[in-house]
Symmetry: C2
Subunit: 179 residues, 2 copies
């Protein structure tokens, strides 16, 4: 039986963007937003954060993002049983493209470049599972979507929610068991 | 009815790579290979061409490629009736990523960046049609594949062949007529 395929988003799923946004916000506004202020929102939706999103166009912005906890070990495990594709909506930011490539090579060397997909609209993706923090990507996906928790999606309840990579490991352990 | 979706390869379909390869070959070997020598092959498969493929890693290689004749006018027409995605296996060459992005913005400004897909293995692509010069991409595609003629695929007969963009226009005119 061919391996089933898992498509994995990058930003806020394997790469942490929010801490960098919060640092920039704090530098510009002299305070750090609370989780309560961020509930249901992104940092650049807060008053005082309007100009932060344009930083995504800067060369290097995506180069030094921290890795999401446990994503490396869990993806390394899943890689044994599934085809793993990294599917990131990167095309709005042309300077992000080589940075994201380098970041994946550095932090996820066991995933082949053949399995990188830098796209825009993810409705083009054919896979069995998609792990993503954006509801609009899961809405158009034809397989099983897993919603990775992020401040902006906390009130969403239409998809299977995973709060961290250990929960993803548990979810797929159950899938393997029921094959 | 939602628009059907056409995935379009870049190199040797909308962007001409072979003339640049031939220029490099000629510079290195003091002669230009004939069509007969190239039949069933790529330039870098010829004796004397072995080192040409690594030029694809050079920044700028993809920046100044000529546009395939009639691809702009035909894609502009098809864009009215179909969703057009540009799907290119770009991930082997990290320096190609921004060059390809800039090239698309310059030569196909009517195609939105949301519809760019820079991938490796194209079996991840969900679309109704794929226009590609590589048989291995059509083999794993679940929709209708159109083989765009190139020296290396001339002996292939498993797919609907299109020799140029005017033939692609004709093919899709017939699809629209029979909707």
């Amino acid at each position: 039986m061919p391996k089933k395929r898992i498509a994995v988003d990058m930003d806020e799923v394997i790469a942490r963007v929010v801490p960098k946004f919060l640092d920039i916000f704090e530098e510009q506004n002299n305070y750090r937003p609370t989780d309560t202020e961020l509930h249901g929102k992104k940092v650049y939706h807060l008053p005082g954060g309007e100009n932060i999103r344009k930083k995504l166009h800067d060369p290097g912005f995506f180069a030094d993002l921290p890795v999401m906890p446990h994503s490396q070990e869990v993806l390394r495990n899943l890689h044994e049983h599934y085809e793993i594709y990294i599917v990131t909506a990167a095309q709005e930011f042309r300077n992000a493209l080589p940075d994201k490539h380098d970041w994946l090579q550095k932090h996820f060397p066991f995933i082949h470049w053949k399995n990188y997909v830098f796209c825009g609209d993810k409705s083009i993706i054919l896979a069995d599972y998609l792990i993503d923090d954006h509801v609009f990507n899961l809405e158009t996906f034809q397989g099983k979507g897993l919603l990775f928790s992020a401040s902006h999606n906390l009130d969403e309840n239409r998809f299977t929610r995973v709060n961290d990579w250990l929960e993803i490991q548990t979810f797929f352990n159950q899938q393997i068991d029921t094959h």
